[in-house]
């Protein structure tokens, strides 16, 4: 069942991405002020949304682990966090390249950029913490606590463009009352959000399968020690 879902989600994501790339490059015109470079938004924003959504799921699963002590929730949290960190890296790198053209600089310590970098570092730290602890229940408990605390920064990232007016543009999308994009330019972005979410879900399912193998190895090792 899991394998079928991985193939299904990947196939839908591939079709959506191909269709969206065609629209972004062949149909949409250049933006009046930014020219061609504005098209980075079609990867930059969906990658951010995918990663932040992933960190939210990780926070929920971490809380559920602390309540139920079921290691499956820990596996989901670990898988979703890892995939979230990858998409957060896509967001940071594409934003930096975009900033180089629009602002003339690769990086600035603006509220949104800094909070997103801190977010990436926190969740990268979560993954390093997991590698450093061998005992599964201790690893799950400590990483769940870190995941819940780290989520505070996700809220700061989301609200930073409203709370502080620094270099990064304010809300642009219509769901945040931004109104900064023409409707024809906004819809491909939402389709790309869906496509990236499907890619991320496939990757999470793959990682969960690996976490299952890892749990089996841990159990067999404990059994081997008992022999």
């Amino acid at each position: 069942m899991r394998e079928k879902l991985i193939y299904l989600f990947s196939a839908i994501a591939a079709v959506l991405l191909a269709w969206d790339l065609y629209r972004v490059f062949m149909v949409l015109p250049d933006e009046a002020n930014q020219g061609a470079i504005y098209r980075i938004i079609y990867f930059h924003v969906p990658a951010a949304m995918t990663s932040l959504l992933g960190f939210f799921v990780a926070m929920v699963c971490s809380a559920l682990y602390l309540i139920t002590r079921n290691l499956r929730f820990d596996s989901v949290a670990a898988a979703v966090t890892e995939v979230g960190v990858v998409f957060a890296a896509v967001n940071l790198v594409t934003g930096s390249i975009w900033g180089r053209i629009i602002w003339g600089i690769w990086w600035t310590w603006d509220a949104r950029l800094t909070s997103m970098l801190v977010c990436w570092l926190l969740y990268a730290g979560y993954l390093m913490l997991r590698r450093a602890i061998d005992e599964p229940t201790q690893r799950a408990r400590l990483s769940a606590v870190l995941s819940i605390f780290a989520f505070v920064d996700v809220i700061i990232v989301w609200k930073s463009i409203e709370w502080w007016r620094t270099q990064h543009p304010g809300p642009v999308l219509s769901i945040r009352n931004g109104g900064g994009m023409a409707p024809g330019m906004e819809s491909p972005l939402w389709w790309n959000v869906l496509a990236m979410a499907l890619v991320a879900t496939s990757l999470v399912l793959l990682r969960m399968r690996q976490e299952g193998i890892r749990r089996e190895i841990d159990a067999l090792r404990r059994y081997a020690h008992a022999l």
């Binding site: 930014q34 020219g35 061609a36 470079i37 098209r39 980075i40 990867f43 930059h44 990658a47 995939v83 990858v86 890296a89 896509v90 790198v93 594409t94 390249i97 975009w98 180089r100 053209i101 890619v199 990757l203 793959l206 990682r207 399968r209 690996q210 193998i213 890892r214 089996e216 190895i217 067999l220 090792r221 059994y223 081997a224 022999l227």
Partner: protein, 50 residues
């Protein structure tokens, strides 16, 4: 400016794909390593049980 603008857009898309594809490759390598480790632990247990 326009050429540079277009070039950097290309770099942006390329960087995004490289990061995602690099991660997919790392997942595939990890899967193969985990399966080998699982086989090794199973063989070790079979050896001890005999």
């Amino acid at each position: 400016m326009d050429t540079r603008n277009f070039t950097f857009m290309f770099y942006g898309f390329l960087a995004a794909w490289i990061i995602v594809l690099g991660y997919v490759v790392s997942i595939a390598m990890r899967e193969s390593r985990l399966r080998k480790e699982l086989d090794r632990v199973r063989q070790m247990i079979e050896g001890r049980e005999k």
